[in-house]
Symmetry: C2
DNA sequence: TTGAAAGCGCTAACAC
DNA sequence: GTGTTAGCGCTTTCAA
């Protein structure tokens, strides 16, 4: 393995000079820089990550915690993960992949070991057990672990187990927990997204809108994005004077068939659907087709889903996109800012955009 | 931050004793061990990853390179990534996520910096440009970078740039490149998978089978799994005396419609389909339904796809599963074995399993 | 069964 | 603009 010392010797300079050429933290004469860079190239030198981390207390690694369970729409997670990784690289960081498996222990382990400088958490739950560890990373309040190791076994000097991780550990959440104080969060503004859907349909003359939602479990357990969407849908419905019927729905054909039958039974005058459930989209379209209801002539469909799903569906869907890439990119940039001492705790809700495609049109004349 | 020295002081032992308690590399009296463990707990000690890596030349990190482009079926990648991560954790390793973006440079960077002890590469191409760097990791042939830094600029001492990465860097590929010498690979035996599909359908009396394949681009560029499947399909078709028509197909409804029309035009007697393209599965089923062809009464469909796709389709599909979890788990276990000095270069092809579900049945009586 | 001490390769004062 | 040097926190001989 080539070391910095070898590079220094090869270039005929001191070790610190090589280090400074690498970090750019002090000015170097053009000539010296050239020689050092040449030596680095010739020797195929790569700085040792461990040594660097030890000396600088910075690992240049960001941890990304993804949920273990996979009932969220997987491609979105993947897209976020890829966006996080490429954005991180662009800022000189690598990405450590963690699954939710270890729970809060993973946070302690990674923070405590200095494996990563900061972390991004996906799919945070409303009252996530990892949150207490993460609060208050923004304004470095030095209320961290106070106990020193100047006492011996037997005295009561416990530390850390239930307090926050060090202040040098920053986190950004993708999603919105119930209580965001002391946290930095990024998410789509699902409330606005819901409102946007109703607004669009109301403007087209629809007066009876049905909402096909996520699986029931999602409404209880998750980040609350489903509830927020519902909020937006409902308040806009009130404002626009349209009727709204909401039904959760497990994905797949069978479940969608049951849900659709119930909806049409209860509200035969339904002329528009808002779908927030990737695995219900295609089944819904198939069932409508099968029942001889043309989209968008007889019924309109608007989805809240990733762009790709909307475009690849059997009818190109009018939709509000879930901006996975932006969320990943934004999360990294915010985290890097915090690590650099810039940046602060804040909640950023990305503005939704509705793209009109082939699945929505004017409400049919009243029966 | 709590250090090992602090733990030692707190427990009233030396630093090395704490270290050995942690590593288990020498015997410790029950009493000492208890005291040390107690101190570790009380102080909330976590070993510093950088220091450990520096001192031991082991990072306990595995790098996972996933392809940047996302035209492979994403959920499979995600499933592999999760399996890799949880398996790695079970062996005491963390996972560093890399995208293909950086190409071969990522391999050099990670190997050179000691960021990871080994790597797993997904979606390797037939003639991947990263392969030359990876060959021969199995039997530690010390033909690595020979040049020492005892020469100065001007002499001809280049190193590394086009030679293999260090012998301490092991790799396992998920997928099968054209030339596997000196490489360790894990993949599904797609050849056997293809054969299995034809065998199943032939046994049911089908004599005219159509194969809906991956997008044309996949056949040129990729790991060759598509060609291997085709090999298996064809040779078994020959053996079973059935006719086989293969057509690549872009995913989606429009493309599938065109492809299906062509197939039925060319082979009107087709009674069975083998599909190896996740995004063509549902379109095919929908189109068949639409044309009044019942599955499995009129036509049988067998898919090569992840279990989940087969089960969630509008007709539960007879399928050969793509064992994403096993592949991820196996890759890690093999890599860990290599890192421990056990293990060797070898190609492991997982045996395919065909699960009969609702989409395949006896061939209809000849027209 | 335990301790003392020499590094691992790098960064960042501190000197000049 | 450059060199010297003292650690960073851990592992691992070597000694006892």
């Amino acid at each position: 393995m080539v070391t910095l010392a070898e590079v220094a010797q090869h270039a005929g300079v001191s070790a610190s000079t090589v280090s400074y050429v690498l970090s750019g933290k002090r000015s170097i004469s053009a000539n010296t820089r050239r020689r050092v860079e040449e030596s680095i190239r010739r020797l195929g030198y790569h700085p040792n990550a461990g040594a660097r981390a030890l000396a600088s207390s910075r690992s240049n690694v960001i941890a990304l915690m993804i949920p273990l369970r996979t009932d969220m729409y997987v491609p979105v997670m993947m897209e976020i993960a890829i966006a996080v990784t490429t954005t991180a690289r662009a800022h000189g960081y690598d990405v450590l992949l963690l699954t939710g498996e270890e729970g809060p222990d993973a946070v302690r382990r990674v923070a405590g070991s200095g494996l990563a400088d900061g972390m991004i958490l996906m799919d945070v739950e409303l009252d996530d057990e990892r949150l207490p560890l993460l609060r208050g990373g923004g304004a470095p309040a030095h209320g961290g672990p106070p106990a020193r190791a100047d006492s011996r076994v037997g005295e009561d000097s416990r530390v850390g187990e239930d307090s926050r991780v060090g202040d040098d550990q920053s986190a950004v959440l993708i999603g919105l927990p119930a209580d965001t104080t002391g946290l930095t969060c990024v998410d789509l503004d699902f409330r606005a997204a819901g409102a946007l859907c109703v607004e669009h349909l109301a403007a087209l003359g629809h007066r009876d809108i049905a909402v096909v939602g996520e699986a029931p479990a999602v409404y209880e357990r998750h980040t609350g994005f489903a509830e927020r969407t519902l909020d937006g849908l409902r308040s806009q419905a009130r404002e626009s004077g349209v009727r709204l019927l909401h039904r959760p729905c497990e994905g797949g054909y069978a479940a969608m068939a049951v849900t659709l039958a119930r909806i049409l039974d209860e509200r035969p005058g339904t002329t528009a659907f808002v779908v927030q459930n990737e695995s219900a989209v295609e089944p819904l379209l198939a069932l409508l087709r099968q029942q001889g209801r043309a989209v968008p002539e007889d019924v309109s469909v608007v989805a809240i889903c990733p762009e790709q799903v909307a475009v690849q569906a059997s009818v190109r869907l009018t939709s509000v996109a879930i901006p996975a890439q932006e969320m990943g990119r934004y999360a990294v940039e915010h985290l890097v800012a915090k690590l650099d001492g810039r940046g602060d705790d804040e909640v950023v809700l990305l503005a939704p955009e509705l793209t009109v495609r082939a699945s929505s049109g004017p409400a049919p004349a009243r029966a």
